[in-house]
């Protein structure tokens, strides 16, 4: 066994060392695999970033109440009366004055210009009660100041400032017939809220003619994740037709919107992988052909056909893994942290960063490994079956 391993190892080392002899062919195989892996990881990093952004947006400490079956804030309505009743529900945390901490919120779509494409896109404007700041302990005003209730003032998320034109501090922006002034920039630690514009809820209600309705109610939970008291109250009251869930659960559901992208990414990568596979097969068949005499000589000396098989397979795997690593590094260097925006579940733009992760890196290497294995196994089989008499082919 030890002898077989040392045979295999010797053949592997020889094959790897002889790669420079087949430099361009080997580089072509590496390039093909790297492109496949880079494409796959681009899609996965995009989906991962989007999912992470939305997952990071929701908090277990916050309960969100929306119209039953609405699935997004945009489709939801919650009346003032319902909000007043729900504010008395058990399980809602209270402030120093023993008042329940909650925020009745509006969520309307306004226009923005995407900086990279100069195209008009939907941006979410969130009307938020002052309680909304108590709820969201990650909110920080990083420039300017807080909006004043009753005035047409906006604060904008850092993502909005980065991705869209016209929201710089001090600028005035026009939504329909109303004009708003940007008075502050806020951060929420990279969550999807940074893709939003925030203003006073009652002012938004008035300016956008929403009567007395809101779209969601957010409450600070006494105990993270425990929404049972509020849920019970909403279910027991026949006047209410509402869903109650934690904000974390709500955004996790929204994050799955890009699941189709992941499937598409894998599908495209697999189709491309077939091309890379053809390249790998070609490279390895050429490699076996160019090393025919060497392989046969080793077999004549007494090396087993298994050593020829595994030596060839190892060469293919090494080339593919190099390609996989190159592809992953290219994705990491050029895409990781790149900010992009796409349409979220509420038909508004969500700003997110492409995010590579060790898991994604692993996926890329596994794909490369599969290409190497499949692309190497047939040439390896040929190497193992090469006639030993080939060692003498130059004679007689």
């Amino acid at each position: 066994m030890g002898s077989l391993l040392s045979q295999i190892w010797t053949v592997i080392v020889m094959n790897i060392r002889s790669l420079p002899k087949r430099l361009w062919m080997s580089l072509a195989a590496v390039f093909a695999v790297s492109v496949v892996v880079a494409v796959l990881l681009s899609f996965l990093a995009m989906a991962n970033g989007f999912e992470q952004t939305l997952a990071g947006t929701g908090s277990e400490k916050i309960g969100i109440i929306s119209r039953k079956g609405s699935r997004s804030e945009l489709n939801s309505t919650v009346s003032r009366d319902n909000i007043n009743i729900l504010a008395t529900a058990p399980g809602i945390a209270r402030d120093a004055d023993n008042n329940p901490v909650y925020s009745a919120e509006l969520y309307v779509i306004v226009n923005g210009i995407k900086r990279t494409t100069q195209t008009e896109v939907n941006l979410p404007l969130r009307g938020i009660s002052l309680g909304g700041f108590e709820l969201r302990d990650t909110v920080e005003i990083v420039a300017g100041r807080q909006f004043e209730p009753g005035r047409n003032e906006l604060i904008v998320g850092q993502g909005v400032l980065a991705e869209f034109d016209g929201f710089e501090l001090g600028r005035e922006v026009r939504f329909g017939k109303t004009t708003w002034k940007v008075v502050g920039v806020f951060s929420t630690g990279g969550s999807a809220f940074e893709s939003e514009l925030w203003a006073d809820a009652l002012t938004v209600q008035t300016q956008f003619q929403r009567g007395t309705t809101f779209q969601t109610m957010r409450v600070l939970l006494e105990e993270p994740g425990n929404i049972e008291g509020i849920k019970q109250l909403a279910e027991d009251d026949p006047r209410m037709n509402l869903d109650v869930e934690t904000e974390a659960a709500y955004f996790a559901e929204q994050g799955s919107a890009l699941r189709g992208i992941v499937v598409f990414g894998w599908g495209l990568s697999i189709v491309m992988a077939l091309g890379a596979l053809a390249g790998a097969l070609n490279t390895m068949y050429t490699s076996v052909a160019s090393r025919g005499t060497e392989i046969a000589t080793l077999r004549a000396i007494g090396f087993s056909n298994m050593s020829a098989f595994f030596g060839t397979l190892a060469e293919s795997i090494v080339l593919s893994i190099i390609g996989g690593i190159v592809g992953a590094l290219v994705s990491y260097l050029f895409l990781d942290g790149v900010t992009a925006s796409t349409l979220g579940a509420s038909f508004s733009q969500v700003v997110f960063d492409f995010q590579m992760s060790p898991q994604l890196f692993k996926n890329g290497i596994i794909l490369a490994l599969i290409i190497g294995l499949v692309g190497g196994v047939f040439p390896a089989w040929r190497a193992a079956r090469l006639p030993v008499t080939l060692a003498f082919k130059n004679s007689m």
Binding site: G2, S3, S6, Q7, T10, M14, R17, S18, K21, T293, E294, T297, L298, R299, A300, I301, G302, F303, S304, N305, P387, V388, T389, A391, F392, N394, S395, M396
Partner: protein, 231 residues
């Protein structure tokens, strides 16, 4: 030369089939090789020299008949068993040396020892001894591309004998060398035979090379033409 028979071919036939055509290289071939012999096999192209060498080296199998080595039948061994048998008993020397271009002389010579249970230190000693025997100790770390044809063939000889095989099979060992270098290589083979008792079978076109052997067999159309030389 001892009276003990090392190799014996009995009624050996070898046919190659190509499509519907069958070409018989040997039919009912008999021969024996004694231990310590240095045998040259000559003959025109297509006479079956290389096929005979392949059969002796266990890299090809006869269509009929039997081949015995040291009293044991070898033509019935499986591929894997034949590989192990070759590793233990046969040293090959090729016309174009067949060195591994990416390994230095040391590592090339060490290859057959990787098939044994010898430790690294012992392997190193044996490699050094083999290279010394062919006067190439000073080229131990040189790559094949840094050596002349004669030096490469000497490395190939060191590789062939490093595991102390019972038989050296040489396929036109001087076919790629000039006269002077060829004589040098043949001198080494003769020394290995006379001083170290190695049994050698050498296929060659070169009558000058054949003179270094103890006896010569001439093959023509699959038969030994000087029947008195065939056992």
């Amino acid at each position: 030369m001892s009276d003990e028979i090392l190799f014996e071919l009995k009624n050996v036939a070898k046919k190659f089939v190509k499509g519907t055509e069958s070409i018989a290289v040997f039919d009912n071939l008999n021969m024996s090789i004694k231990k310590g012999d240095f045998l040259a096999i000559m003959g025109p192209s297509g006479s079956g020299k290389t096929t005979l060498l392949n059969l002796l080296g266990g890299v090809d199998k006869p269509t009929a008949g039997e081949i015995n080595f040291d009293g044991k039948r070898v033509d019935t061994l499986s591929e894997g068993q034949l590989a192990a048998w070759r590793a233990n008993n046969i040293g090959f020397i090729f016309q174009f040396y067949n060195l591994m271009p990416m390994l230095n002389a040391n590592r090339n010579v060490e290859l057959p020892l990787l098939l044994t249970r010898l430790g690294k230190q012992q392997r190193k000693k044996n490699v050094a001894a083999a290279l010394e025997l062919v006067n190439l100790s000073d080229r131990a770390r040189h790559m094949p591309s840094e050596m002349s044809g004669g030096q490469q063939q000497r490395v190939a000889i060191a590789r062939a004998l490093v595991s102390d095989p019972k038989l050296l099979l040489c396929d036109e060992p001087t076919g790629d060398l000039d006269r002077e270098t060829a004589d040098e290589i043949l001198g080494i083979l003769q020394l290995l035979n006379s001083k170290f008792g190695k049994t050698i079978v050498m296929v060659t076109h070169d009558p000058q090379a054949a003179k270094y052997a103890k006896r010569t067999l001439h093959l023509d159309k699959g038969q030994f033409v000087e029947k008195d030389l065939a056992a």
